[in-house]
Symmetry: C2
């Protein structure tokens, strides 16, 4: 077999890179931390305590929304944002693959060194 799973490594990277990028910002990590606590929150609520303007926070939320780490629903005059766990679960799995590859590489190296010592 030449493929590990159903999709190519390149396709996986195309899918996952934007998710990592979305998490690659302090402000957005803070938003994720607030939202993964459970309660959906409005943009104004999420802006409280930040030095940034509401508009800046909105932009960050849209970045998270585009990669589906959060979703929003209009409720009356406010937009409520809610956490979505799937993308983060998926990149955890991706990182597990990386770790696994590394561990196997170490194991191969170790057994190679042991064969060397025996010869």
């Amino acid at each position: 077999m030449s493929r590990k799973g159903r999709s190519s490594a390149t396709a996986k990277r195309q899918a996952f890179a934007p998710v990592f990028a979305a998490l690659g910002d302090e402000t957005r990590l803070a938003l994720v931390a607030k939202l993964c606590g459970g309660q959906p929150r409005s943009i104004s609520a999420l802006t409280e305590g930040s030095k940034l303007t509401r508009q800046a926070i909105t932009k960050h939320l849209r970045v998270l929304e585009k990669v589906e780490i959060v979703h929003s629903a209009r409720s009356g005059r406010e937009s409520r944002f809610e956490f979505d766990p799937e993308p983060i679960e998926e990149i955890k799995k991706y990182l597990d693959l990386v770790s696994e590859q590394w561990d196997q590489a170490l194991a191969r190296l170790k057994s190679f060194v042991e064969v060397e010592r025996l010869e």
Copy 2:
């Protein structure tokens, strides 16, 4: 106790955001994939098969190096880059915290709903 660990949530984000950002690029994810396979590789070797120039690849490697996902060592006329697993292990732990928070939020919601049904 008001703190979970030794460092504040803000400090963690300051530390982890750059690591996520470093992974937030297809080219760099491809480099990580090659390097976590075990063999250290020169910049020229890592450039092979890419549409980018060696200089562009070098810049990407420096980004990964800055957050310590890889390190380089000059060996003769070539720079060999090698994978380092620690930062990725740490962000996996960070993502576990996020998932855990979310799971607890769901559990609270569930027990709340059940109490509602009993009353």
